[in-house]
Symmetry: C2
Subunit: 355 residues, 2 copies
DNA sequence: CCATTGATTGTGTACGTGCACAAAATTAGA
DNA sequence: TCTAATTTTGTGCACGTACACAATCAATGG
């Protein structure tokens, strides 16, 4: 293992002291342009890398990380994101990171507004944002930009913001995946149905709409026609939706495959089970407890999973990179792999996602 | 963040010096039973954890890691395992680990024997083993056990060995996954075919046989009968196998779904393409370059991927845990999640996501 | 030209562990 | 009982970085 270049080496090569190199590496200011140029030249030449371990050892400042995401319930989407966050914090437990959650109700814009407004007052070193409402998020980001506080997005991207990094999945591709699965799962002459969300101005509904677009793109590219019934039913609350779903199926008896483009696939599955329908293939999103139950009992054929845990995990790692090593990425978008989960590989993912 | 307990704290509480605690933590011997008891009591009470960073900083000894796996070709299975290994070594590049590969030809037991025999002479601190031949592996492990050198398995498990940990995937479950996919992909009245390996006494062929068992279990549990033609063709070399495959398909025109239980799915795909057959659904294993090509052009419907890079990555992390922190797991078996890869989520997996 | 101020640079210590070596305690031998 | 050998215990330094503080340099005004 080649001996690594140290700050002292850099200092010697640039003809300055270690303190000056330190100031440059950490943007502490008070450095003459002459020194800066000399040091930066040597840094580039040597490809200097921080030693993560000694950095962590010497670090005295406690960073404050604020995590602004929808209420995280165990076994649901944001609960799993939080697990990934906590996993990463645990792995870096030797670094002093004070962590504070700022939860909000993802269906209530006022709750989001209140939560987001309090964030700047907490004087965070960095923020992880799970965005739902575009306008509120833009307002928060503008303020963070002004105070030069780095932030990272998980799950969604919001326009007109400047996150260091974003961890999300490719929703259009998710839609195309669902398309191909339904196409593979059903005979060519069978009809298909799609259920999405109707809510507008809400990013999670945007996700649903992007998935819809991807799904339609897939079927458009097939070279032959498949009949797709686009349902206007908004699958949100179990009891309200059930009747609508059953009526829809009575009206469309040739439907043999259904895509539910949000995480409420279990509601449709339960409706089907209630009618005793068994020959319809169902595909939905997210490994929530309810969906897991349906995959196990066979009423859902496949779940598309977007690695919420991995998103949270990587978001924290990105923050640590930014804070400790001063590596400021600008708007880098990382797409998570998208998993297809069926009954047989479910236990393997449960080990990772749920427990 | 709660202040962590230090070695000095432990020493003070136990009424000994830090040196004594150090000796106990690292099994360096020369400790009276009285001191040992006192310290171990305090260690248990406080739940002492090593500080990974300061450990790494102070570590002066260079560890030697030997990696005994089949020849690792980029874009093939073991090449991807190696990528995961190198990724982990890179992440821990601040720890001095001298790494030496001991490749062998996975189809040649003599090559394996020669390679494995040289390992003990290298005086490794730890070994990562990708096993193929049971007898040779048992011999190697026996020797490592005797010299108290920890080792970790990737990909396969071999009986009568004592690895600290094993990272592999559940081959039986893989077989069941393939079964369900083919069942979902084809009409009930269509015939199915299975291609495996014939080679005996070779662990990779054992993998193939375990998958076969899982596949049959799945179809046995269905509640209705599907016709499955079990081909005796050993899909190994492209040109030799092609003719056999084509003849098999001519003899079995009702076959509409095929499982290839090793990584040579592309050979069957190419054979189908050569005959102009387009309505057969094909499922195979491992994201090799050739299989990737076939998933892209649609001749393979799905690939089962066992996260080879994650296996390699975790194996190295396990070794580091063992060497640095003296955490000696005994025979812990970790199953990797098993991914279903189709054309649409393929690009996401191509970008390697470790951890 | 000197004093004062502010900008820039250099120096020293702490962080917690690993490990070498010195010191002390115990045991063995005569 | 005294010495030598051996076991056990304690001490101190190094690792590379962060950060506080001291030292030096340049600029400005009188």
């Amino acid at each position: 293992m080649a001996r690594q270049v140290k700050i002292k080496d850099i200092a010697q090569m640039a003809g300055v002291s270690a303190g000056t190199v330190d100031r440059i590496l950490h943007n502490r200011g008070n450095v003459s342009s002459k020194s800066r140029e000399a040091v930066e030249k040597v840094l580039a030449e040597t490809g200097y890398k921080f030693n993560i371990h000694t950095s962590a050892v010497s670090l005295k400042k406690a960073y404050k990380l604020v995590i602004a995401i929808p209420t995280a319930i165990d076994g649901e989407y944001w609960g799993t994101v939080r697990k990934g966050i906590e996993h990463a914090l645990d792995e870096y437990s030797d670094i002093a990171i004070d962590c504070e959650y700022a939860f909000y109700n993802q269906f209530d814009i006022f709750s989001c507004r209140n939560s987001f407004r309090s964030i700047a007052e907490k004087k965070p070193s960095a923020v992880i944002i799970g965005a739902t409402f575009a306008s509120e998020t833009v307002a928060l980001c503008r303020r963070l930009d002004k105070e030069d506080i780095p932030y990272v997005f998980v799950d969604s991207v919001i326009d007109k913001t400047n996150p260091s990094e974003t961890y999300s999945s490719d929703q259009n591709a998710c839609g195309r995946i669902v398309g191909r699965l339904l196409n593979l799962f059903t005979p060519k002459d069978a009809e298909l149905a799609v259920f999405g969300s109707r809510r507008i101005g809400n990013e999670r509904a945007n996700n649903s709409m992007t998935r819809m677009k991807g799904l339609m793109e897939y079927f458009g590219s097939l070279g032959y026609r498949r009949i797709i019934k686009e349902s206007r039913i908004s699958v949100q609350e179990p009891e309200e939706s059930k009747k609508d779903i059953i009526r829809f199926l009575e009206d469309n008896p040739a439907v043999k495959g259904i895509a539910v483009l949000n995480s409420r696939g279990y509601i449709v599955a339960d409706s089907l089970a209630a009618c005793g329908i068994k020959d319809i293939r169902l595909v939905s999103f997210d490994l929530t407890v309810n969906n897991i139950r349906c995959v196990k009992d066979g009423t859902i054929s496949a779940i598309i999973c977007q690695r919420p845990e991995l998103q949270g995990f990587h978001a924290v790692k990105a923050i640590i990179r930014t804070l400790l090593y001063n590596i400021k990425e600008k708007n880098v978008h990382h797409f998570m792999p998208t998993d297809i989960v069926i009954k047989e590989n479910l236990p393997m993912y449960k080990e990772i996602y749920v427990e």
